[in-house]
């Protein structure tokens, strides 16, 4: 369980994280979204105690990370695939990590097998591809068999097999009752494996909801799409009922403010032939772009005000 409360992190005059509050719960995959420089990585680094919060708190299982007696058993962390000495082998890297907690060699071999690193275990990490480095990072996060996982861009650089593997892995980990917080730029990927999403922009919270709730907020969500041979009469008919209609190519109309039933009835009234009719569901990506786009505009106005 990760609880972030009113977290603020400033570097000089730059505010990276601004009063952020959210909770990542056990048994749930929480997706962490935001544009580059939104403060995702900074937040994760504060959570695992690498950086000190300017104000506010970040707790894991109710404690400050630095106060955990056995951090590796509580939280598995992968912040950056390049957190390994390039001259050290994958096995020795994991072994040194394990030794800080008295974890045995058998467990090191176990996570190497689990992440498919056996053929490369005794090769220097400097020779690894991005995907291999990513697997090594995940192996390190799993080492202590922790109840909470913090993964920054875990699918970055993985091939399709690897992406599928990570998706299954995080679903399994959550199904076992663990807390998983993961960030990704791949919206489609997050929509598939996250239960909740926390979206931030310019260090501020924009949304903290289930994936479905966020998707429903997108512009396209809840609109009706109808394809017809007679777009003009149908448009007139629909406008008369008070709906908004956006004509598109190929006789397609995007209708807002009317249900599928109402659009169908309207088509019969004006004698238009309906070829296709359905409700649009929107996408996480659209919702995300709308939310973060608003944040940037809001923020620009805010800055101007401050300059006055």
């Amino acid at each position: 369980m990760i609880e972030v409360e009113a977290l603020t992190k400033r570097y000089g005059s730059t505010t990276a994280v601004d009063g952020l509050t959210f909770t990542a719960r056990p048994g749930t995959v929480t997706g962490f979204l935001g544009p580059n420089g939104a403060g995702k990585s900074t937040t994760m680094r504060v959570v695992v105690g690498l950086e000190r919060a300017t104000s506010g708190t970040a707790r894991v299982d109710g404690r400050r990370y630095a106060d955990l007696p056995a951090p590796l058993h509580a939280v598995g962390v992968m912040l950056d695939a390049r957190s390994v000495h390039p001259g050290r082998t994958a096995y020795k890297h994991l072994l040194a990590m394990a030794q800080t907690h008295g974890i045995g060699r058998a467990r090191v071999q176990e996570v190497i097998a689990q992440t498919g690193l056996e053929p490369a275990a005794h090769r220097r990490a400097g020779t690894f591809s991005l995907g291999m480095g990513q697997r090594l990072g995940i192996a390190g996060a799993l080492l202590g068999d922790p109840a909470t996982l913090v993964l920054d861009e875990p699918v970055n650089g993985l091939d399709p097999d690897g992406v599928l593997w990570v998706r299954r892995l995080v679903r399994e980990l959550a199904a076992e009752g663990r807390t998983v917080l993961l960030s990704s730029h791949l919206m489609h990927e997050l929509a598939l494996c996250a239960d909740r999403v926390v979206i931030i922009g310019r260090g501020r919270l924009l949304a903290d909801a289930t994936v479905q709730d966020v998707v429903d907020r997108s512009e396209r969500a809840g609109t009706v799409r109808v394809r017809t041979t007679d777009p003009e009469p149908l448009t007139r008919e629909l406008l008369a009922t008070g709906a908004q209609v956006t004509p598109q190519d190929g006789g397609v109309l995007q209708v807002r403010g009317a249900t599928v039933d109402e659009v169908g009835t309207a088509a019969r009234r004006c004698g238009a032939t309906v070829l296709e009719l359905g409700t649009e569901s929107g996408s996480l990506e659209e919702a995300y772009l709308q939310l973060t786009g608003d944040a940037v505009e809001y923020r620009t106005a805010d800055t101007r005000e401050g300059a006055r």
Partner: protein, 280 residues
């Protein structure tokens, strides 16, 4: 509801691979740091290079020593230190900076978030590695300057006052220089910064100032870490140094104390930065 139940189960269970008494202990961090030091191939090579540099320099300089130079046998054996100390400085600096230059710091300090045990363990493993390397280098230097390879240089004679101290001093000062390198590395976090500062402190500043003797420069020289090499001199050579200086007369152990103070202050500053500042 199922997720909640399994959630509490996940928190309560014993993690796979956990030892009987789980958690971070200093002894465990020490073992981990030893693994880290020995698992980077460049470190053993650096140690070997340091031994070769010490013995090679001692052999080379020994060839030019004549019996009437007033040099003792211990001077010849430890003379390789002038070059070898760079190896010890680099060893410490590499241990101190590689965490930060390679990003290993993210792994290290998430595993040991209290951080100070890591610096403590690094100090211990660096000191042990430097001590062993220095002892081997001393032995190699002795072998390289004895018997048929001695030339006209005087033989090592433990009866000469201060000889034992000079031999022990070789190891002690090597350890101190490596710890100074570690402190500078952990404090400055960049290899170039740490090495340039280290070379200035243990070597170059003293050499530059020696060209212009006077009360001020001699006092400054006495306060630099390079004063520690007095421990490598026999009694007669220390007496000559103290007679020539226009600054404080340190003796052999006074010089060592100055070096020791530098090590403590620099490691203290490194510890402060490590605990108070963010890790990138």
């Amino acid at each position: 509801m199922t997720t909640l139940t399994s959630g509490s189960r996940a928190a309560a269970r014993t993690p796979r691979g956990a030892p009987a008494r789980p958690g971070v202990r200093f002894a465990r961090v020490l073992v981990a740091e030893w693994t880290k030091l020995t698992s980077v191939p460049s470190n053993p090579w650096l140690a070997l290079g340091t031994v070769v540099a010490a013995a090679g320099t001692a052999y080379g300089l020994g060839l030019f020593v004549r019996p009437d130079d007033g040099r003792s046998g211990s001077w010849v054996v430890v003379s390789g230190f002038v070059l070898a100390q760079l190896g010890f400085l680099v060893l410490g600096a590499v241990v101190g900076t590689s965490e930060h230059t390679t990003g290993t710091a993210r792994t290290t300090f998430t595993a040991v978030p209290r951080r100070l045990p890591v610096l403590g363990a690094q100090a211990v493993v660096t000191a042990v590695a430097a001590g062993v390397t220095a002892a081997v280098a001393l032995g190699a230097s002795y072998l390289a300057t004895t018997g048929p390879r001695a030339g006209d240089a005087p033989a090592l004679d433990l009866a000469v006052p201060g000889t034992t101290r000079a031999l022990v001093g070789f190891v002690v000062v090597a350890v101190a220089v490596s710890l100074l390198g570690l402190g500078l590395g952990a404090l400055l976090r960049r290899p170039a910064d740490a090495l340039v500062t280290g070379v200035l402190l243990v070597f170059l500043l003293d050499l530059t100032l020696s060209g212009n003797p006077g009360p001020v420069t001699d006092t400054v020289r006495a306060l630099l870490p390079s004063a520690g090499t007095r421990l490598l001199e026999d009694d007669a050579a220390v007496a000559v140094l103290d007679a020539a200086t226009r600054g404080p007369e340190l003796g052999a152990w006074g010089g060592a104390a100055v070096l020791g103070a530098w090590v403590v202050v620099v490691l203290g500053a490194a510890a402060y930065r490590l605990v108070r500042h963010d890790v990138r």
